[in-house]
Point group: C2
Chain length 286, copies 2
């Protein structure tokens, strides 16, 4: 049976490291702070927000939620975001999306300074990830994948990493991060011919398509490391979640695999806090 | 023997199309203009500039060179670039790089507006290419590769495209452009294990590493399309150029191949003019 790569072990290590950093920062009279901007109250957003709050508090990071009514005007919301962005005590900003349709989301995203953009909402952050500029924050999910690979010391240099999915929030930035670690990177997707065959070529296979259990036994091979980014409603267990990988089919074949839940999703809020602490240090030249 | 994919055929088709567009633009009282910023007088820059001028003139695009002494100060050069960028009659700007070392090149690049940045010098353009925003201009060389693939109707959807090289001017943006055409994209490089084996997997192999004739017979297979982006001094023929592919070794094996010279390099100035015409249309809402 495959070794399960548990997200909580990775998150714990990140948090331990951050606690020490936050103590040092506080010794200089500064407290890192994460600001969350939420319009409305979608259950998924509230769930993530709760997790982020818990993680932030456990590390000693201040946390503030800026909540707005769903019918807020573009003008009022722009003003609010600009004010939050201008606050010296708020080091990192996460804004839940999608915003209500009457709001111009791409315009509002760009009101966040790249140096506070801890979940890569702006074009400026995207550009930095693309060009490999380490001062830019990648989105938290692909960074969480990298944290898992690093924590469990999965070799990447020269190895074949295959990413299933080419989204802007996972696939594309993850490709850039894996290239930064000298992996040979393949991006495949729904149009790929012989998708199972391409995935079987991987040393490290990352599934990020958002389709429940689509990666079956014929997509994997012995010796592989499989990272499952998907979080989908489980068609076979109402009320439960599952990944993009058919875990039961894969765990008897591959070498290591992240479970869902308990894998990548358990690491993202720790990454959000890591980015916030780094943002705080850069902003205060610490 | 492989079919030679001649750049001049592609460039001729692009220019024919642009001539018609430029005639329509001129009928509205507007003349597209390309501005070239050059510091000093490197022979390579002068050679490219001459080619760009010839191409622009053949299409009916105005062309102006802004030349500066190598010892120009940062302040004076910033002012000059801002002035050129502000000119309403200059639709596209190309600036030769690298700039002399005493100049802050990354700062100067960002003085060019993304809508005039016809060779993708700015982070804004890089971001647009990364996210797949068609209003952003990719660098001319990867776009020239795409023009060749489209002109010769090379199937890309679902096929394996392997890019050898991960530079910001070719490899990375080309990966994004190929993904936009639904190819399955692999980026490999000097650290890739079994590089010849990875390259042999390609339906379309693009070599962009800048190492003379490194792609030998064992990197290719029957049926492949090979695009050679390299322009290197030929170690076997002093004073001549050669590509990253050992052409003599490959042409007996693969299905189609671009020669060097006469391949990708023959298309880049046509792409530069295409971007300038598009920039002119967007700026004038034509």
């Amino acid at each position: 049976m495959a070794e399960k790569l548990m997200g909580k072990d990775v998150a714990a290590a990140i948090k331990e490291n951050l606690k020490a950093q936050v103590a040092e920062i506080k010794a200089q009279g500064v407290v890192p702070k994460l600001g969350i901007i939420r319009v409305g109250a979608r259950p998924d957003d509230l769930y993530y927000e709760g997790g982020a709050k818990k993680t932030a508090e456990s590390i000693g990071i201040d946390f503030e939620v800026f909540e707005y009514a769903e019918d807020i005007s573009q003008e009022a919301f722009e003003k609010a975001v600009q004010e939050i962005n201008g606050r010296k005590d708020v080091n990192g900003i996460l804004m839940f999306s999608p915003l209500p349709k009457h709001l111009n989301e791409s315009k509002i995203r760009e009101l966040i300074s790249p140096d506070k953009d801890v979940d890569s909402l702006t074009l400026g952050s995207a550009a930095k990830v693309f060009v490999g500029d380490k001062t830019g924050f990648p989105p938290c999910t692909p960074q969480a994948v990298m944290e898992i690979l690093h924590h469990f010391e999965i070799p990447l240099q020269g190895r074949k990493a295959v990413i299933l999915g080419r989204s802007l929030v996972v696939g594309k930035p993850l490709a850039m991060l894996l290239l930064g670690d000298n992996a040979t990177v393949t991006i495949c997707h729904s149009k790929t011919q012989d998708l199972p065959g391409v995935c079987r070529e991987a040393d490290v296979l990352i599934a990020a398509v958002g389709r429940a259990k689509m990666v079956k036994a014929d997509y994997v091979k012995a010796g592989q490391v499989v990272i499952d980014v998907g979080i989908n409603e489980d068609p076979d267990n109402p009320g439960k979640y599952c990944g993009d990988v058919d875990f039961q089919a894969a765990e008897g074949i591959v070498d290591k695999i992240t479970p869902v839940p308990g894998g990548v999703g358990s690491v993202t809020t720790a990454v959000l806090c890591k980015h916030t602490v780094l943002a705080c240090k850069m902003q205060n030249q610490l």
